[in-house]
C-alpha cells in the first residue's frame, strides 16, 4: 500500500456510491481524487437520470429529431447500449423505456417489495430472450462528430450500463494512482499501479450476508438482480426492473442475482444482466471471468476467476530465482490479472 487510503461514501443514483483511493496520481492526492470521483458521479447523475425532466438523457429521449447532437459521454453511453445488445445477443436491451414505464418503474422507488414475496407471487420461471425488433441495432453513434442517429421515439434507459461506464471512465482517470476502488451503486472497478490485492465481497440479496469474497488487484465487477427494486404493478403482479426483451415484462428466470467479473465494469454489468436473464442453465456461460449466481431458493454458486500464479510463488516451489515478480495468468482471463 502507498500512502493512507481515503474512503468516501455517498448517496447517488438512488443508491450508495463510494471511492476508496490511496496515494497520489494524475488527479492529485488521494483526498483530491475521492472529491473528484464524488463530484463527477453526482454531476453525471443529474445528466443521465431518466427521472429528471431536464437531464440530458430525458431531453434526448424527448427529442423528435432523428439526428441529435450529444455530449461525448452520452455518445459513449449510446455506444455502450449497442455493445451490450451485441455482446448479449439482444438479452441486455437498454431501449425498453416504454416497457419499464408500463411495468411501473417511472420514478425513484422508495418502498420495495420483499424478495420472498415477489418470488412467491411470480409466474412460472423461464429464461428471457431477445426482442425480435432489436431496437438497439437502430442506434448509430458518431463519437467524433458528437452525433447520435436513431429513429425518432427510440428511447434509452441509463440503468446499470451507465454506472458501469462511469466506473470505467473514472478508472481511466485514476489509472496512475497506486490503488483505487470505485463503487457506482454496485458496479465496481478496482485497479491501480501498485496492483494491491483487494477483497471484493458479494452480498446476498436475501439477508445481506457476504456470500463470497474475491481477492483481486485489477477487475471490473457488477451485480444485477431482482432483489432490491421490486414492486407490485397495477394488476397486483410482482414486477422489477430486469425485463425480458421478448415480452417486455419483468423476467423471472430462476436466478435472483448474478455478480460478474470482467476486464471492465461495463462488460461486467452486461455479463451480470445477461446471466440473470438467461436462467440457471445458461447463466454460467456468461460468467467467463468468474462470478456468483444466486438462485430463487437462496442457494448460490461461485464461479472462480482464472487462477493466478506469480513467478515468485512458482520460484518458491521450484528453484529460487531473484527478481521474478512479474505476474502471469495460468489460464486466460485478464480480469484475474
Amino acid at each position: 500500500m502507498s500512502g493512507a487510503e481515503i474512503i468516501e461514501d455517498f448517496d447517488c443514483f438512488g443508491s450508495r456510491c463510494s471511492a476508496v483511493i490511496s496515494g497520489a496520481g494524475e488527479v492529485g492526492s488521494a483526498q483530491d481524487a475521492v472529491a473528484f470521483v464524488k463530484r463527477k458521479l453526482l454531476g453525471w447523475h443529474t445528466r443521465f437520470s431518466r427521472f429528471m425532466a431536464d437531464s440530458e438523457l430525458s431531453r434526448l429521449n424527448r427529442d423528435p429529431r432523428e439526428i441529435v447532437p450529444v455530449s461525448p459521454l452520452m455518445a459513449r453511453f449510446a455506444q455502450a447500449v449497442r455493445e451490450a445488445g451485441s455482446l448479449s445477443g439482444g438479452l441486455v436491451d437498454a431501449t425498453l423505456v416504454r416497457e419499464i414505464e408500463t411495468a411501473g418503474y417511472d420514478g425513484d422507488l422508495r418502498d420495495s417489495l420483499a424478495l420472498a414475496s415477489a418470488l412467491a407471487l411470480a409466474p412460472a420461471r423461464r429464461p428471457a430472450s431477445a426482442a425480435p425488433a432489436r431496437r438497439w441495432q437502430q442506434l448509430e453513434v458518431d463519437r467524433a462528430a458528437g452525433m447520435l442517429v436513431r429513429p425518432a421515439g427510440l428511447q434509452l434507459d441509463s440503468g446499470g450500463l451507465a454506472k458501469g461506464l462511469f466506473a470505467d471512465v473514472l478508472g481511466d482517470a485514476l489509472a496512475t494512482h497506486p490503488s483505487f476502488a470505485i463503487n457506482c451503486a454496485g458496479d465496481l472497478l478496482v485497479g491501480g499501479v501498485a496492483r494491491t490485492m483487494r477483497p471484493i465481497r458479494v452480498q446476498s440479496p436475501f439477508d445481506g450476508r457476504t456470500l463470497h469474497t474475491f481477492e483481486l488487484a485489477r477487475t471490473g465487477v457488477a451485480t444485477s438482480g431482482i432483489g432490491r427494486r421490486s414492486w407490485l404493478d397495477r394488476g397486483g403482479a410482482p414486477a422489477h426492473h430486469l425485463l425480458d426483451p421478448a415480452s417486455g415484462r419483468p423476467a423471472f428466470t430462476g436466478i435472483v442475482q448474478a455478480t460478474a467479473l470482467a476486464p471492465s465494469a461495463l462488460e461486467a454489468e452486461i455479463r451480470a444482466k445477461a446471466a440473470v436473464l438467461s436462467g440457471p442453465h445458461s447463466a454460467p456461460g456468461w460468467l467467463t471471468h468468474g462470478g456468483v449466481i444466486v438462485f430463487d431458493d437462496g442457494s448460490h454458486r461461485v464461479i472462480g476467476p482464472a487462477p493466478v500464479v506469480t513467478l515468485a510463488e512458482l520460484a518458491r516451489h521450484t528453484r529460487p530465482r531473484p527478481g521474478s515478480a512479474q505476474t502471469i495468468a495460468r489460464a486466460a482471463g485478464p480480469a484475474a490479472a
Binding site: 461514501d9 465481497r201 452480498q203
Partner: protein, 92 residues
C-alpha cells in the same frame, strides 16, 4: 529365445510408457483444474492471516456521506492482508 526376450522388452517398455502417461495425466488434471497442492497450502496460510469478513452496509447507510482515512475506519471497511479495504458489490 530371442522372440521371448523381445516380447518381454516390449511389455516392459509398454508398461513404463503407460505408467508415465497415467502419472502425467493425473498431475496435469490436478494442475489444470487449479488445485496445485503447493499453492493450496499458501492460500490457506493467507486466509488464516486475513481478518474475518463483516458487512459494512448498516454502518455505511446511517449517514448520507462519510469520508475517512483507513486508520479511522469509520465506514467499518475490512482490510485484506495486503492492507487494502474491502469493497462490497450488491444490487443497486
Amino acid at each position: 529365445m530371442r522372440r521371448r526376450a523381445r516380447r518381454i522388452r516390449r511389455a516392459v517398455v509398454g508398461l513404463a510408457v503407460a505408467l508415465f502417461a497415467a502419472t502425467f495425466l493425473v498431475v496435469y488434471v490436478q494442475l489444470a483444474s487449479g488445485h496445485d497442492p503447493a499453492l493450496v497450502a499458501n492460500a490457506a496460510k493467507r486466509r488464516a492471516a486475513s481478518p474475518s469478513v463483516t458487512s459494512t452496509e448498516a454502518s455505511a447507510a446511517e449517514s448520507s456521506t462519510a469520508t475517512s482515512t483507513r486508520s479511522e475506519a469509520s465506514t467499518g471497511s475490512e482490510e485484506s492482508s495486503s492492507g487494502a479495504s474491502a469493497v462490497t458489490t450488491s444490487q443497486s
